[in-house]
Symmetry: C2
Subunit: 348 residues, 2 copies
């Protein structure tokens, strides 16, 4: 009986140990399974792509677009009420009043350019020195920029009553930008170092009153030599532009001297930066006959048959030669005479 | 001896069971520790902030800016060479040619608006139905938009030789946009449902030829009633705008009828959406005398002393009343007569 009880105890002991072991193993296995599940959940969460950013990150490999814009300072007009009555009557009325839209046009253009990645704005003032208006606008633009200044020589400026084509405008300023690109310095603000050797880029001459579709800049970005496209509302036509057959430029749609070497508007072409640097003498000629300013640069750079047609073989208009009306200032003059002119401290 | 051996066995058995249990517990605990470590590592990785997107995510809490733009269709001009010679000579020459800049101006404005978060463009065509030019432009703009159409009644259209102020332009179109905002439908493209009840927003009337700084839109976004600011190059002045003392509007700088109830330009104010919805009869009056169109809406909405001055107490000009010149089409006419006009298949 004594032994039997011991055996029962032993059996009970063994069974309970086995049960305990089994329970422990099950418990551990269950905990491990739960941890494994949590781990795989967390790993899945980590693999999930992050929320897409608003814009794709800017690829460093994109060629830079150098946009050259000449702009005309106001020579201090409107800065004092006293100067008003004088300046607008000394034979520059038309020209001076046109400059009232300078800030509006630069704001509009700078906002368009801010939509384009990898863009460097070369803004060249026609002035004796940098003006606060332009310096302030550039600083606030958020753009990568270089501020240049060169005064148009008196002999090349328009005189009273002369039509705009007697002296092409912005020649000195565009050449100043070419000088800077070629390492000849001259920056008065913004990025002062020229592009380092080997920089991939393209140069475009964008006046401040034209209208540019953002698509235009992607058309010109991969220019190898000189690329071309149509320009709307120019030359008295709905549009001017290259005629293309089998992917090559075979002629030009224009009404004005179709036999010019390059009958294209300033807004209708872009030049690869390496090509411009390889031809250090290529620049605009301020003595070029009317309508030949573009040819004076391009003749150094490319044969017309090698022009690269863009914008769907030159069938899409992505830039318009818009012109802003000169604002009328009759009421301003009247109020100024009464001492109630617009507050000169407010920049317009 | 026999019994002792059994005891040894039993002791050995108990010790080994205990050892096994201990080893098992340690093993399980170690595995659990490792899993815990992995879990905390993964959780730390998940807590790490994602790489910052190029732009901060758009806060849903920003009030929406509803920008209302009337635009003028070309009534099929330039669509065929045949129609050219006819249409420009039937007394609408000036007006029709002005419409040549429609696409350029809408491209320019749409690109400016694309810089503004939480913006909804209400583009209202003055036409019998939606035109392909405008529909295509809206679809390509990337903007949230609603396309509306209403034809100006013949009696309110300008006749040959009439100056622009005889009939204010865009009245029917702006009222059509107000109708849509008030749930009266009429959308022909884009977002067709009006803002749901309780939407926080502000309504701004932006013509397509003005120049807008992107900063202007942030000035108007938190308008409670009616906000105001200066407008550049308008009314024959450098700028027109409210005069502010101690943060309140106490008068207006303007040369034209300073005693109008609201001597402000269309581009110089914005209205909170809830206020417009609370006054269902507030709209523009096409019979308002010259210069009183803005007052015809605002008189329903606000007392002049409650206008909210913006743009640094109305000392900063952030919008300019620029006007685009009508492009000259003399050469186009000549080439058309020779059968060599600009390709009508190319949209300009």
């Amino acid at each position: 009986m004594k032994l039997k009880l011991k055996n029962v105890f032993l059996a009970y002991f063994l069974v309970s140990i086995a049960g305990l072991l089994y329970a422990l193993v099950q418990l551990a296995a269950e905990q491990l399974r739960q941890k494994d599940l949590r781990i795989s959940q967390l790993q899945a969460e980590l693999r999930r792509p992050p929320p897409a950013p608003a814009q794709p990150p800017e690829p460093e490999a994109l060629p830079t677009i150098y946009v050259v814009t000449p702009t005309y300072a106001r020579y201090g007009l409107w800065c004092t009420q006293e100067s008003f009555g004088v300046e607008v009557r000394d034979g520059h009325e038309l020209e001076e009043q046109g400059r009232l839209v300078q800030k509006a046009e630069l704001v509009r253009l700078s906002q368009t350019l801010s939509l384009v990645p990898r863009l460097h704005w070369l803004l060249v003032e026609d002035a004796e020195g940098p003006t606060p208006l332009v310096s302030g606008l550039l600083a606030a633009s958020g753009l990568l920029f270089t501020h240049l200044v060169v005064l148009t020589p008196k002999a090349q400026r328009l005189r009273e009553g002369e039509p705009g084509w007697v002296h092409p405008r912005g020649v000195e300023q565009r050449n100043k930008a070419l000088d800077w690109l070629r390492g000849r310095g001259g920056a008065v603000g913004g990025e002062k170092d020229p592009p380092p050797p080997g920089t991939q880029g393209v140069v475009y001459f964008a006046d401040d009153d034209n209208t540019y579709s953002r698509e235009l800049f992607e058309e010109m970005r991969w220019t190898r030599g000189v690329s071309v496209w149509p320009v709307g509302l120019v030359g008295g036509l709905r549009f001017e532009g290259p005629q293309v057959q089998d992917g090559r430029v075979v002629g030009f749609h224009t009404a004005w001297e179709p036999n010019r070497p390059f009958p294209v508007d300033m807004a209708g072409f872009a030049v690869a930066l390496p090509l411009l640097l390889a031809k250090p003498n290529a620049q605009f000629d301020s003595t070029a006959p009317r309508g030949h300013l573009e040819s004076s640069l391009l003749s150094h750079l490319v044969d017309p048959k090698d022009l690269e047609p863009r914008a769907a073989n030159c069938t899409r208009v992505l830039v318009w030669h818009t012109r802003t009306e000169k604002p009328k200032m009759k009421q301003e003059e009247q109020l100024q005479r009464q001492g109630r002119g617009s507050d000169p401290a407010v920049e317009v």
